[in-house]
Amino acid sequence: MVWWLNRAVGSLFNLIFLPFSSFNPWVAMLVVSLLTALLMLFIYKKTSNQEGIRLVKNRIKARLLEIRLYQTDLRTQLGSQKELLAANLQYLLYNLKPLLVMIVPIFLILAQLNLWFASRPPAPGETFLLKARFIKTVDLERLRLDLETPTGLVVETPPVRIIDEAEVAWRLKVTGPVDEPLVVQVNGERYQKIVPAGKSRLLRVSTVRVKRNLWQELLYPGEKPLPADSLLKQIELRFEPQRLHLLGIGFHWLVAYFLLSIILGLALKGLFRVEI
């Protein structure tokens, strides 16, 4: 069920980003921020009490004016402060419903954007870590483990088995284009993991494949979940984090996304007559 939802949302993002794959990633970020701003304005308008918000904002303004005008009248001042507090609480209450509705699409969007902007796939010659995490009850020293690497990948080290963390890690090196997934063999069972690669400036990079679990699947929507009865809990590729660079400053994608969405949302609210 979650997998099908992830697939649908993933396909939508593939479609949105397709025209921008060769552009500077900021372009795609700007587009997705704009779409988010529009979606959020729409949700806000439809789920909030627009008239109530308008009235309560007017009340807040009025109380602020009152405070300014009657600076020498202590009684009026205290009364205005009380009314101002009440109006603010009312305003927050009006916002609660649209925010709760917005959380759902925002969560799905963030999980998708994490795939596109968080990590950079290694270039040929670079190395990365592959970590396989198992359920706690597995005896790692007795486990039959093997790694099948596709063309373009070589395993550089023997596995490091960390017993008390139920983890096995290898170092891999990219030697050329990688077109096939790698395979982790556990007691004869084969589990695939996509190794994202490519030269495009904007790439969908799924670094984690998780076991079937609602929250985990929502957080890491890039690949079909591992079977529920698998000894493996997750397979992870440790890639270098990616930053969005502007004027010599590297921005975390999350910061860029929230800043742009908020700025665009505020800029467009008048156009769509949304009272925020």
């Binding site: 870590l129 970590k131 550089e156 080290t157 023997p158 490091v160 440790r238």
Partner: protein, 666 residues
Amino acid sequence: MSGRKNEEALKRREFLQLVLGTSAGVLLAPGQAFLRTAGRKETGLKVLVLGMDGLDTVLLDRFLQEGKLPHFQKLAASGTYRPLRSSVPPQSPVAWANFITGTNPGGHAIFDFVHRDPGTYLPVFSASESLPARHNLRLGKLNIPLSGGEIRNLRRGRAFWQILEDHDIPATIFKIPSNYPPVETRQRTFSGMGTPDLKGYYGLFNYYTNEYKTVTEEYGGGGRVHDVYVIGNRVEARIPGPNNPFRQGNPETFVDFKVFIDPVNPVAKIAYQDQEFILREKEWSGWKKIRFDFIPTQGVTGICMFYLKEVRPKFKLYVSPINIDPADPALPLSTPESYSRELARKFGPFFTKGLPADTAALENDVLDEKEFLAQDEIVYQESMAMLEEELRNFRSGLLFYYFSNADQRQHMFFRLIDRNHPAYDEKLASEFGQVIEQTYRQMDRALQLAMEKVDRNTVIVVMSDHGFCPFRRGFNLNTWLLRNGYHVLRPGTRPEEVSLFQGTDWSRTRAYGVGLNALYLNLKGREAQGLVRPEEKEPLLRELAQKLEQVTDPLTGERVILKAYLTSEVYSGAYVHEAPDIILGFNRNYRISWNSPLGSFPRELIEDNPQKWSGDHMTAPDLIPGVLLASRPARLEQPALEDVTAGILTMFGVKIPPEVTGRPLF
């Protein structure tokens, strides 16, 4: 290591706290203002100077005759090949300062690696000084610096690239020694020898092991051993960082890390902060970033390398000195400041510590010869890659480019080409006896790269600051002064237990030695407890010089000191009064001992040097000249370092300023 050596190390540590404790505050120094690079005047002529530290004429001659250095041969045949007179004394910071300023130490005030504070008689670093923030706000355990600290370059006199800048001639100066922090200029410069690690030391490695091991935390560097336990195939330890200027007492910062060892395979995963990587036994990690936080919003970033020396039976992990991160420098590395970041963007992290090869790790058997060379090979490869890039961008003016490898490897491997050296080892010599020759060949490849990349309008100059000779025997200057009545200890003091002149009776002491070639009089009006009256100075100096030049080694019958230079006679310039009174020019095979320079009085007057640091350059400069090769014929038969400076200025048509004492080379 003996107990006595341990004790000395502790005393040195106390001393280091005194000298280096201020460095933490300096980390908060405000960044240099953004500097526009110098005017880009298109010069018809271009000059490329390759500074190859420590290239020796005797060895170069030999390898040239054997036909092993074809590009040096070609350059020599096309223009000039001469010995290049070094400085008095021929130590790198002094010699390169001669070249930078075109004058002698009297004009630039760098006389030795180490100077002394006449107020305390304690050694101080000669090249730079760190000053903490002047004003601090104390809130409980918090200490909030209200102003930035300061780092001062103590070299005086103007650098030749500043003079070129006056004439709008562009220059790029890459890692020239004696330029930390880089002097203010609009030229592109990157600091070299003298640049500290992130802790403010000249290089302090960390070594994690469950084997009994001690190492020396030397004057300004060395290493630390951390005893660790392997429990459940896991090691937990910490990497020490700079002192925290935001806490009362400036405690040391740490980063915790974990090592997970595979139960069977010789391989381990290392994890700290957001870093995770796997190393096989005997493998280097490459550069890794590490961040030391002072308070939640303030911290500094460094870079270091890990080397997993052994997994079992004993666990041994080496962590290199933490270099300043060129991508986010906590201390000033370059002018303009953006030059450092520009290099980091192109090449990723790279060595920024002044002397990158970890000679202390080899000296203390933490790294063996092969491991040391593997590390220094990384230094060489980085240098070559950056040289290629600089040559690609070299369109006008001057490019100076520095290599440290020949100097560092000759220091550590001379024992393996000198059968008479106390540390000569037949087996090691068979394996590593060719290292020095191979290094000269690598320098030849650097020259080849330069010759291939430059155009016909480029004059190529290859120069070294000094040559090299074996360091077989060490002379204890302070012991000699003590025995001859020039230095007096308080009654009851055991001379061999003294360090940093603790126990000296300054009211009866007339002379003392600090640094690697320097002797000072305890002069009235200059030293805190001066004894020698100004009118007694000259005769006393002549008496000392004469006696020192007569010292012979009973083991070999050779003179130990070839020439004791009176600085009043060999130096000129505005800072002669700051100079030591006598500079010792040792004979070939001799040098100051290991303990005398820091105010100790070992039992033996002259002792064998059993250490791996076996080649050196503290003799009379005539014995170990540097080399000069140029693609243009030189006018001078016996050029000196400062003549190269004058030569560069005249090639660009710049009038030689009066403070430059060098003569035009070309």
